[in-house]
């Protein structure tokens, strides 16, 4: 192993996860932390620790110079970025490259290319990966828009060609609506960007969010099957599954093959995820973006395949070849992960950074709880609310839901308010039990008072 000393440039549960993986590989671990995180679990578990700045992330975990200096000062030969913070920053990867330190992830150029939505879409199309059907380029007239919309199929989204981030998007269900909305979109785009050019894309109705886990060593790449993450609130995933039971085997194979094709075409190194929208009615999937890092929900893929993704990404980034070929990867059973957040689901998900008074972890075959808690730990208010992830694995999806319900009941986190009651209510919901949901399902379900209707206070 070329990596001997690994700096972990992250916090919370993923820092704990990375330390465990690195120790299993015999690597000396160095935990970077802010002043507010001096007592976090990862600091206690690491072989050494270094403070990189005050509580605010921009003065610590997001400060490239401070993290690079910490790596140099501690003699680290590699840095693991985790997720969030600097994990998708080409500038960070480049700064480490020029300091002669290994970045546990893909090259800065790959991060930059796949982080740009337009460049990623072009790379996907070049690799033969389906993308959401849309106009080839800028559309200048309403007649042209109507012709293109007929080709890609209604409903269509009308966007400003010069815009971004989804502002001012309009949806037309038919040509009459398009002819009414397109001129409005044009004049708005003209006013906002000085360019009235439009872009059309098919509006995928009630899509499911499906993603494929890939691993690459810079020349070869494999997949570790797919995950479904359709249960979302405010675009944040809440409950994730591996595999996606809505897919037939043929669609699953072509989805996963498309992800491998794209990973190989960009000589991907490390662990990565390709995210897709799945249109169940048409049985079609469309690539939307790639995350060039480890993801929060990676454990469910580990549970069904037996691959340790974090160890494997460290190995390949140390220059070793993948130790698996695709035929070695078999998916067994079904896994579910739920995110346990320090939020009160009965109070509009108000953050609740309390102190852990009692911690009793659920245990048993096929049960895993990835977290960074210990009794007496005061959750700092400065970072996100994820406390941990409860992961279960069983032979079937129905058995996994039963196991999840039991594990949620066994989990005791006193002194905190958490989202555990939400997950118990979801486990009991008939739609969830048959897998009948999509990305627009959870928010209306919450708005309709389904959670409030469940008994309060009997959950962890």
């Amino acid at each position: 192993m070329k990596i001997k000393r690994l700096l972990i440039a992250n916090r919370g549960e993923i820092a704990v996860r990375i330390i465990r993986a690195a120790k299993a590989l015999g690597i000396h671990t160095i935990q970077a932390h802010s002043e507010a995180d001096a007592d976090m679990l990862a600091v206690k578990l690491a072989d050494e620790a270094i403070c990189i700045g005050p509580a605010p992330s921009r003065e610590s975990y997001l400060d490239i110079q401070k993290v690079v200096s910490a790596a140099q000062g501690t003699g680290a030969d590699a840095v693991h970025p985790g997720y969030g913070f600097l994990s998708e920053s080409p500038a960070f990867a480049r700064a480490l490259e020029s300091a002669g330190i290994i970045y546990v992830g893909p090259s800065a150029d790959t991060i930059e290319r796949m982080g740009d939505k337009v460049a990623a879409r072009i790379a996907a199309e070049a690799a033969g990966v389906p993308v959401v059907p849309g106009s080839k380029g800028r559309i200048a007239s309403v007649d042209e828009a109507a012709a293109v919309a007929t080709e890609i199929g209604y409903p269509v989204m009308i966007k400003a060609a010069a815009g971004g981030d989804g502002r001012g998007i309009r949806i037309a269900n038919d040509e009459a609506a398009l002819r009414k909305l397109a001129p409005m979109a044009q004049s708005e785009a003209e006013a906002a960007f000085g360019d009235g050019g439009l872009y059309l894309e098919r509006a995928v109705q009630s899509p499911r969010h499906i993603e494929v886990q890939i691993l690459g060593d810079g020349s070869d790449a494999i997949h570790c099957y797919e995950r479904e993450c359709s249960l979302q609130r405010r675009r944040q995933k809440v409950w994730e599954e591996a595999g996606a039971v809505c897919l037939d085997d043929e669609t699953r194979e072509s989805l996963c093959a498309s992800a491998v094709a794209l990973a190989k075409s960009v000589q991907y190194r490390g662990a990565g995820t390709l995210e897709y929208l799945y249109d169940e009615a048409r049985n079609e999937f469309y690539f939307i973006e790639m995350n060039t890092r480890i993801q929060v929900e990676h454990p469910i893929s580990e549970m069904i395949t037996g691959v340790d993704l974090v160890q494997e990404m460290i190995r390949v980034c140390a220059g070793e070849p993948l130790q698996y070929s695709q035929s070695d990867i078999k998916a067994t059973g079904h896994a579910i992960e739920v995110r346990i957040c320090a939020e009160d689901p009965f109070m509009q998900f108000l953050p609740f950074p309390g102190k852990v008074q009692t911690l009793i972890e659920p245990t048993g075959d096929g049960i895993r709880f990835d977290h960074f808690l210990y009794e007496g730990y005061q959750i700092p208010p400065f970072y996100d609310s994820l406390l941990g992830k409860l992961i279960v694995h069983a032979d079937t999806r129905a058995a996994a839901i039963d196991k999840l319900r039991e594990a949620l009941r066994d989990l005791r986190l006193e002194g905190l308010k958490t989202t555990a009651p939400l997950h118990l209510a979801l486990a009991d919901d008939p739609d969830v039990q048959v897998g009948a949901f999509h990305t627009q399902w959870l928010e209306p379900w919450l708005d309709a008072g389904n959670l409030a209707a469940t008994a309060k206070g009997d959950a962890a």
Binding site: P56, P353, P381, F382, D384
Partner: protein, 78 residues
């Protein structure tokens, strides 16, 4: 003299956004429910609202400072 305390631990901000002036200045009238600052807690912004009426005297907590629940953020006269 009334004090306005932080309802939650987090980071205190005197302004609605970095480009805007502070919510209140010395001498401003404060009505019950007026927002005097924001607390950022776990990436969520919570408004701090006055529970008593009065005249704004001064901020006590620095802008952008970490605060604990119960820390005094501002003082009112009257």
């Amino acid at each position: 003299m009334a004090q306005i305390q932080s309802p939650l631990p987090g980071t205190f901000y005197r302004q609605p956004s970095p480009e805007e002036p502070p919510f209140k200045s010395a001498g401003d009238a404060v009505a019950v429910g007026d927002t005097i600052g924001l607390i950022e807690v776990m990436k969520t912004f919570i408004q701090v609202n006055a529970e008593d009426p009065g005249t704004f005297k001064a901020y006590v907590a620095e802008d952008g400072a970490p605060v604990m629940a119960g820390d005094v953020l501002a003082e009112l006269d009257g």
